[in-house]
Symmetry: C2
Subunit: 425 residues, 2 copies
Amino acid sequence: MDKLKTWIERNLCKLNNVEKMDDPHGFTRLGFTKEEAKSHHQFLAIAKELELKTYRDQAGNHWAVWEVDKDAPTIAMGSHLDTVYNGGGYDGVAGVLCALATIKMLKDKHFQPQKNMAVICFVSEESARFGVSTIGSKAVSGELDFKELIGVTDKNGITVKQAVEDMGVHWEELEQATLPSHELEQFLEVHIEQGDKLQESNAQIGVVTGIARPTRLIVTTHGTSNHTGTTPMHKRNDALVAIAPLISYVQEATLKINQQEDPHLVATVSTVNAKPNAMTSIPGEVQIGIDIRSINDGAKQKLVEKITNYCRQIEEQNSVHVQIQTLVDNKPVKLDQTIHNKLFRASHHLSFKTESMVSGAGHDAMNMATRWPTGLVFIPCRDGISHQPQEYTEVQNMVNATMVLSEYLQSEALHYSNSNLNREE
Amino acid sequence: MDKLKTWIERNLCKLNNVEKMDDPHGFTRLGFTKEEAKSHHQFLAIAKELELKTYRDQAGNHWAVWEVDKDAPTIAMGSHLDTVYNGGGYDGVAGVLCALATIKMLKDKHFQPQKNMAVICFVSEESARFGVSTIGSKAVSGELDFKELIGVTDKNGITVKQAVEDMGVHWEELEQATLPSHELEQFLEVHIEQGDKLQESNAQIGVVTGIARPTRLIVTTHGTSNHTGTTPMHKRNDALVAIAPLISYVQEATLKINQQEDPHLVATVSTVNAKPNAMTSIPGEVQIGIDIRSINDGAKQKLVEKITNYCRQIEEQNSVHVQIQTLVDNKPVKLDQTIHNKLFRASHHLSFKTESMVSGAGHDAMNMATRWPTGLVFIPCRDGISHQPQEYTEVQNMVNATMVLSEYLQSEALHYSNSNLNREE
């Protein structure tokens, strides 16, 4: 196992394009940039070493395939190599690396699969550049909203279309990138947890049951801006004073819903922008952003309803106008229960302390799950920190996840009939 | 009087560098820019028409003097010509114009003053460019904090020193610009009210008793930023949730203090900046700016104490650290009571409905008042709107203020003994 550990250690640096994993500024590899492309290039080099067949699909994702039989089903694994600004070197990378390491392990064991295995390196998973996440996996699973996407720009005004084409991907091809369902049998992803539940319960492996995708609201309050010095208190129409109680309310209402049931509901007033935001001006307009997540869609909708009612109250009690805009309303994604159970058993069989859990963050797996039976494995990350240079997971955790995938695949890829994935009842 | 009205109308456009006062974008003449200098140039042209002696002082303020006797006392009047971004054409301009018009009126009447009269056109009154207000009048009255000023930059990174020198003012001279007290006898300013009290009470003239200068706090709350999706509600250290109740508290505490006494206390949470201010991150740091004004310093200090105690409570009840920084703590300025009474009487004598009032906003007069007996006259402005393109006052209001100054000066400048200003008891 020490050989595998060294292999993972070396290729972790390689995929991150560094000699050592200790840069205090972390990694900045935005989607559809040369930095991301460079890491994809390293991915291809490792795949070549493993004698895998590689190609780029119409969305710019790279594939590495262990093809045993053209007509056999294909089990895909994978994740992404892009990062946020000054992010960590494990979010995404760990998943690509564990997928490659699993194939290496199976080959080293001289395992002879009856199914093909593919590793997918998805492009542009993070929303850091364009505000749109998981572009590569959305394209493959037919989840991309091109009408919405076409107008999107990064902070330098570069459109997503231009960025994509700069990387040699034709927009027209991207629109055709959806993979027919029959081309894959299932999809598996390994990811760092980005939370601290595994660390707290001292577990080595988490197997995910569902992904809590976000509902996002923008609440805009319109009052009247005026001079802070010359406008008496009773003549004000202060948009910030009017909307401020909503911040506490979102917190309280969320706690209350969690008390009644336990839908793992989380809600955050994460952004606040006041206009004119000048020391001598009463705030005339305030915009707050609310991020709401749960694996229970009913709980999310209940909170949205409560927030809406509260905003109507604010309007009645103040001379302000309150607008609520739904920016995003994604339904939670349930992962495949059969795969979950098999992965859990495989992990347990290897004597890992294993937890069944939900994911609060989105991953490529959530798109793949809309089209193919999908499994997601979490490994602990130190103190739950992610999207920061301090993001860290021990190499041993990646070895563990590789062992779980390998254990799972040794039975999963051993036989196939012409039927689909064998379901447990 | 129609001739004076036409003269004011014409020179209002001249000082604003326009043909007509109807630009929907208003005026942008920031301090120490070519735009401001252009209006100063127009000021010099009008002064020349009135046969006044003009010069620039060491701070870059322009002076126009009706000199009757080198050894006689000098009564100064004036205001400024710079504006905020997209401001109005009356804030400042009205004061410079009424001062010039007063001299014209007195000259047309063949009044023979025994004192000299000066009109000062102060530079950079607005804080829009550098965040520092009334630079020109602070320089003259010895109120400029050079140590603080030297590090200040505008939003393009240009230092105030560079901006000043680009306009041909040497920094070393600016440091020497304080005018010896004996050089002036008193100072008078006319300004639009920037509030709607005069309009509401249907008064034509306001005579100001005191200026409520601001105390400004920056309250910074340090919590912990984390992923909105993966951090359970009970494990959060949300800086925004912790500090939000302070916004309502500032409002409530201010209303309460005003109920007990009536110190015309106004307080505003006018700025709010959250970090990282991203949809998927819990706010880790929130900074709010509070602007507090009253002509009663005790009332201001009482509110600051209440806010401080409330912040300590927030710290106790939440796992956050709250820092309070006093950005500005200016004592209210009392204007000269004798001058106030004489101006009030002059206005009343002319049958104007006259109000005695306080100023919630700062003006050049507040600096001049620290060194010379000072009077401030307000004229109504439509709906109290200022610092916006919609800012408006009728030309007749400027005629009225000119008549008041003229009436006042006809007795004030008629005689002089070698003693200082004759005080009423």
